[in-house]
Symmetry: C2
Subunit: 196 residues, 2 copies
Amino acid sequence: MKKRVITIGREFGSGGTTIGKKVAQELGMEFYNRDIIKNIVKETGLREKYVEHYAEFAPSADQRFAFSFVDLEDEESSPLKRMWVARNKIIRQFAEEKPCVIVGSCADYILRDREDCLNVFLYADEKTKEERIREIYGEVLLREKNRVHEMDVKRSLNYKYFTGRDWGKAQNYDLALNRGSLGIEKCVELIVRAAQ
Amino acid sequence: MKKRVITIGREFGSGGTTIGKKVAQELGMEFYNRDIIKNIVKETGLREKYVEHYAEFAPSADQRFAFSFVDLEDEESSPLKRMWVARNKIIRQFAEEKPCVIVGSCADYILRDREDCLNVFLYADEKTKEERIREIYGEVLLREKNRVHEMDVKRSLNYKYFTGRDWGKAQNYDLALNRGSLGIEKCVELIVRAAQ
């Protein structure tokens, strides 16, 4: 079955944006990544800085406990929940409007009822991720090595909190690719093939 | 880089043998699966029934504790260790002799120092695995549903015991494929592409 939507979950520094863009180009699809933040800002009326900061927010144990009493679908409640409701709405709209590639944002979970979705996860060894991060963000971020690792921990907790699933567990995806050993071009080729 | 050896780890019922054979055929490679058991029998002089029974043996907590004091490389010791040493030797020989596809047997770990190895993991949803097991082994095995799940638990413990790694964790492979959603033909195509 030809896929209409490709979602890409990815470890920090594994080249998700680059690979996603190339896949979208080859298949003539729209590409969404940062656009989701902008749309959440529009949708919720929250400040951009706030949305950016909390987009990959991972609630602490206390916060998780507090949140467990409230309904995530209730738009009247906390900004975090308004962001989640907006994120759901935006990603479903993207998928409805045009064939597209969506990077991050728990899109695989949000679109879990669509059968025309190909869900991909990208990962890489530490060395590859460090090189990539040095290339894009420079030495400063790389020197704070823990931050690199923290980004993945944060993504993993954020995903778990909102979806109840384990981030990066192969069984949750159609295709999981090691961008370190396969390289960017091969990853693009395999995702395109899998979607056709 | 063109790959000389393809190792396939797989959940029970995810079609590893079928997919592995087709990949080998398309790439003109040797295919090894059950052959490994036969070769361990020859190599160790142990009874075939014994080797079959213990090939995917997962030691209990007590046994793991006892084994932690002995050197896995010491061929003089227990039959389990003689089997592991033989398995290493046989799989390294296979990889050395001819380009090949090897299913199971911790081959990805045993050949971890070879850069010309493509390591694949196959998994599937419960429904797909059940259908596959009904097809191959019939209703009897399927009715004992727990046994199906137990096979994966056993493989996972066996892998962990001998390699120290987590079986089926995407990050340990180059490519992890959902045979349930992708189907057999697409899995074959993607593995062939990845190896070329």
